[in-house]
């Protein structure tokens, strides 16, 4: 007893020791506190999306999903961590359904990677452009319903968190983005884990289930694949799991064995996820500026088509396949030539691609925070109108002039956030170069720094373009 007491004092559980918040998070049902309100919000959005006004700026589904949810998601990832996965209301419904239906199958071995979820992420980005979800409350509502349906369909058949780890496109976005988050789940004291014989954090106990995403706390590094579900926190009988400080992007430059993931350098699918995350950020921003229509018209002329999907397919192919292959290929080739390495281009690409994660996040957060900040209060008149339409004008008549920050004030914030991403990407690129070519670090670093700066330049150019959102093609 006397020896255990000082040891307990030494190890810190980070946020879990904070007054009030810590106690709340340590409570077994803390996750429900986030999930239940978010479930109710999702329900309201679906109902208003289906039965409310058809005009997107007057419907809570489109306003809250495409302006506020996306903006809040990236800002929370920046200042805290993957709290939106923690509060995912779909998981609450799944857990409820699993009381009646018990999944029997393990997720197929061949699909235990990120390729399917990368496809889903690209599919969501593609659907967003093709079907103009941003301007369609009904489609947005059905998208929410479909998401709930998808998680039930997968997780009532397959065990553990198969949907979160191998399918969920939002989850993959959050995993890639949370590599820059300032908090992570980890062991408070590695020595306690060394003496632990029960491994409840992964196996589960009568207190709680173990990690459904196969992350064994003592060997967990960083935030990739962590949904902040806190199951390990509740399962550990030694109270040795911490929600503690994480140096943003720090672990992207390292390549230790990670529980549930292996080594990043041996995971082409993870490297592809980070690459799509970064190039997808540019593509998504490109989809709402004026030049995209000129490009689409030109492509339609070249391809002799009048419908949008072939043009979008070609655009996505160029932006998410051809462009990354060419640019990363050139960076790999330059790295190999400059360092005299004999490694394959694929090996080099998989090792170095992780430096694009902070830049990708910088572009996403610059883009989404622009909409979030400039449209911050736009939900208020929409909510007022919804209540008026229901015959309960408790918030008064809609005040349509409510908006947010002026666009001119948002641009410096955008550029500041993007700059942070560029700096973090360069630091990660340097660390990877240091690790892989200790004698020729600068030579290994420069091609990737050039790539980061090139992509950042493209982002700056995009942010300075006049915005233009159209729901019609070739107009």
């Amino acid at each position: 007893m006397t020896s255990a007491a000082p040891a307990r004092r030494r190890r810190s559980r980070g946020v879990l020791e904070w007054p009030l918040v810590g106690a709340l998070l340590r409570w077994r049902h803390s996750r429900l506190l986030l999930q239940v309100p978010l479930f109710l919000v999702a329900l309201v959005l679906v109902l208003h999306g289906l039965f409310g006004p058809r005009l997107a700026p007057m419907n809570l589904a489109t306003v809250m999903v495409w302006v506020h949810y996306r903006g809040a998601l990236v800002l929370v990832l920046l200042v805290a961590g993957n709290l939106f996965c923690m509060g995912c209301p779909m998981l609450a419904l799944r857990d409820l359904a699993r009381r009646f239906v018990h999944p029997r199958f393990d997720w197929p071995q061949a699909l235990r990677n990120k390729w399917l979820s990368i496809g889903m992420l690209v599919g969501v980005l593609f659907g967003y452009e093709l079907f103009d979800w941003w301007g369609d409350p009904r489609a947005t509502a059905w998208l929410i319903v479909a998401y709930f349906g998808a998680i039930l369909a997968v997780d009532l058949v397959f065990k553990h968190a198969s949907f979160c780890k191998f399918v969920c496109p939002i989850g993959q976005f959050n995993f890639a983005a949370s590599t820059i988050s300032p908090l992570e789940i980890r062991a408070a004291d590695a020595r306690v884990c060394e003496t632990c014989t029960t491994k409840d954090c992964i196996k589960g106990s009568e207190l709680s289930r173990g990690c459904e995403l196969a992350l064994f706390v003592p060997e967990k590094r960083g935030n990739m694949d962590c949904t902040f579900c806190l199951d390990c926190v509740h399962a550990c009988p030694h109270e040795n799991v911490a929600l503690a400080r994480h140096e943003p992007a720090d672990d992207l430059g390292l390549d230790p064995h990670r529980s549930g993931l292996g080594r990043f350098s041996k995971r082409p699918d993870l490297a592809a996820l980070v690459t799509v995350f970064c190039f997808g950020a540019l593509l998504n921003a490109f989809g709402m500026v004026s030049p995209v229509y000129a490009v689409q018209r030109w492509m339609a002329g070249v391809m002799h088509v009048e419908s949008e999907w072939p043009v979008l397919t070609a655009l996505f192919g160029v932006a998410l396949v051809v462009e990354p292959l060419v640019l990363l290929g050139l960076a790999c080739w330059a790295t190999r030539a400059a360092t005299g390495s004999h490694e394959s281009l694929l090996t080099l690409g998989v090792r170095h691609a992780y430096c694009l994660a902070p830049l990708g996040f910088g572009i996403w957060i610059a883009h989404y925070s622009f909409h979030f900040l400039t449209g911050l209060l736009t939900f208020v008149p929409v909510l007022q109108k919804a209540l008026c339409d229901l015959g309960a004008p408790i918030l008064g008549q809609p005040i349509w002039r409510l908006g947010g920050l002026p666009k001119s004030a948002a641009l410096p914030i955008e550029l500041g956030l993007l700059s942070l991403g560029v700096i973090a990407s360069c630091v990660v690129a340097w660390r990877i170069a240091e690790r892989s070519a200790s004698r020729r670090t600068l030579a290994a670093f420069l091609p990737w720094a050039a790539l980061v700066l090139l992509l950042a330049g493209a982002a700056v150019w995009l942010f300075e373009q006049p915005m233009e959102m159209r729901g019609t093609f070739l107009q």
Binding site: L55, A56, N59, H371, R401, G403, E468, R470
Partner: protein
């Protein structure tokens, strides 16, 4: 061999009640819109439209007869969420013509929502699409 399933009594009641419910719903539906014949046409300048101040000339008529002394509220909205609507200043020009001055604050697809009350007290709302507002 398939065993014929016994139909539940509650299902039978529901099946019989459905046409009745439909009949009641139709009978209780609101009568035809009293302002259904009100025509609202839009002439926009500059044309083609671009970001900046804009002037919409609205013409109100019913059965070919101009509608004067209507009280109009006109709001420009984008077709996507997150933008503050552009409220128009409306002036009556006479002979069923009204001038709405407002501003296109961003390029893209816009929608003009005309909310009006006619001189005889009838209300109406019209949504007029204004696609492809250029950003420059």
């Amino acid at each position: 061999m398939r065993v014929p399933r016994k139909r539940s009594p509650s299902r039978g009641v529901l099946l019989r009640a459905a046409p009745l419910a439909l009949l009641l719903a139709v009978a209780c539906a609101p009568s035809a819109d009293a302002s259904a014949k009100v025509q609202c046409s839009l002439q926009l300048s500059p044309s083609p439209a671009h970001v900046g101040p804009a002037l919409a000339e609205l013409t109100l008529s019913e059965d070919g007869r101009p509608l004067e002394q209507a009280s109009l509220t006109v709001q420009g909205n984008m077709n996507h969420a997150g933008m503050v609507p552009s409220q128009a200043r409306v002036t009556e020009l006479g002979a069923g013509h009204y001038k709405a001055e407002f501003e296109f604050t961003m390029g893209g697809d816009w929608i003009l929502i005309v909310d009006g009350k006619l001189a005889d007290g009838r209300s109406f709302e019209r949504t007029l699409p204004m696609p492809g507002v250029a950003s420059k």
